[in-house]
Amino acid sequence: MPAPYAFTLALRSLFREKWINLLSVLTIASGLLIISLALFTVYNIEAATGRLPEQFSMILYLDNGVQKETVDGAVAALRKQSAVLSVRYIPKEEALKELKATLKNSGYVFEGLDENPLPDALEVRLKKEALGEEAVRKLAADAAKIKGVKEVDYAAKFLSALHYLKVGMQTIGLILIVSLGAGIIFVCYSTVKILFYRRNDEIETFKLLGATPSFIRTPFLIEGAVIGVSGGVVSLAGIFAFHYIVLLRLSASMPIFSMILFPSRLFLFLPFAGMFLGVTGAAIALGRLKY
């Protein structure tokens, strides 16, 4: 079929069945908007948890009276590890000073303390990408074997919680995307199926006149694409409206909301996603044409 004529047929049908098509567009837009909000949430949690590792460090307590050469050897050994970002030596005097500064309101705990009970230590910061639970556990085990290292301490529970939070959010996001994506395909499928049944006599006549399956299918696929793209554009407008009307106004009155990121480029895929889902639904609805 010449493409302009297929478009003419599709546009005529879109106009003729405007109410059912409008309803489909709004349903698809709602689905895509929910997907966008889920993505928006996951993105922000990813960004927030992505900043947490900057605070993470591993502390290696050293043996009492450890020699400077031993400390230097331990530092060198740690720096050779690919996961290590930086190593800082904390003499026990500095550690006590930091502790006193931290507990300045509870200074009585240091009363009667004749001797510094804290050991010398090494503070190890890790590279962001190395902050997996397993990798950190392995590094801790390796570090414990270094000469002069008495004990290794790190926030294992924090890492584990971070890991499960990320996995949980990604799973919820994935479930939402898959289920709502399937829902959108079903909406397009139903719409095109209804349009197809309504035009069944016309299609039968086309077949008898010698129309090929592609001649019959093309206008329906265009309709599916237009419905999907329209849904995508409406959802895009919806997510930007959410940004400008809700987020920006809230940020103005409550600064904490200004920390929320709005990945506007990420949402530009919505019309394309709508088109893909619309065409997929239409293609499934048309199935195999029988002659």
């Binding site: 010449p2 006599d201 016309e202 077949k207 008898l208 006149l209 010698g210 129309a211």
Partner: protein
């Protein structure tokens, strides 16, 4: 077996064709042929198998036994993907018209050409020429509902011939028409046939073929009862 073989001089050939519907025989052991450029009537009472015979020609039905050849196409062996291309060689005048009610007369006739991928300029010229042949040029912008039965029938004929197919099939083309209008429709068929198009008309209206000098194939309860010239 070949799907297409254009070596034959015969436009349509049935060889021992049988067609059953749910264990009820619609056509039984039918053998006949129609030469290129011939105009033949298929006649018989209602339920004798006339419409089934036409459906077998344009591959809306498959034979249960026997072979059918149409302009070199072995219709019984056709893959589904080839059926549209067979049908482009056949103009069909349906008993129930099958006009698209939401399209104008022009658009209805043009559809036969659009399906074949003909360009817009050529469509315009050929559709008006075809409508002129059935004396409906002035009704090009009308919708089918606004036309009389005879006019609708002529639109269907116009659509069947606009692509100049080598074969035209007509199923009860004068079924709902008064005698004068029926005469007009038959004159159109004769004109088309005079230009070399093979025409097969299924009808139970004796007046159409009586004294026409054409070959008449008579069916009775799905069997070929007689084949003679009137």
């Amino acid at each position: 077996m070949l799907e297409f073989d254009d070596r034959s001089d015969m436009m349509i050939r049935f060889d021992a064709v049988t067609k059953d519907y749910d264990n009820q025989t619609a056509l039984r052991d039918i053998t006949f042929s129609v030469g290129r450029g011939e105009m033949v009537f298929i006649t018989g009472p209602s339920g004798s198998g006339k419409t089934t015979l036409l459906k077998l020609i344009y591959s809306a039905e498959k034979p249960d036994a026997g072979t059918i050849s149409v302009d070199g196409w072995e219709t019984g062996q056709l893959k589904e993907s080839s059926i549209p291309f067979l049908r482009r060689n056949i103009g069909i005048v349906f008993q129930d018209f099958r006009l698209l009610q939401n399209k104008t007369v022009f658009e209805n006739v043009a559809m036969a050409l659009r399906i074949r991928g003909v360009g817009e300029r050529e469509i315009k010229a050929r559709v008006y020429e075809s409508l002129k042949a059935v004396n409906l040029r002035h009704k090009a912008d009308a919708f089918p509902k606004r036309l009389s039965g005879g006019e609708q029938q002529r639109v269907v004929i116009s659509r069947a011939i606009v692509a100049e197919p080598p074969v035209v099939l007509a199923d009860e083309p004068t079924g709902n028409l008064d005698p004068a209008t029926a005469d007009g429709v038959m004159r159109i068929f004769k004109d088309i046939n005079a230009k070399g198009t093979t025409i097969l008309i299924a009808t139970h209206n004796r007046e159409l073929y009586q004294n026409s000098g054409r070959r008449v194939i008579r069916l009775d309860m799905g069997a070929l009862a007689s084949e003679d010239r009137t």
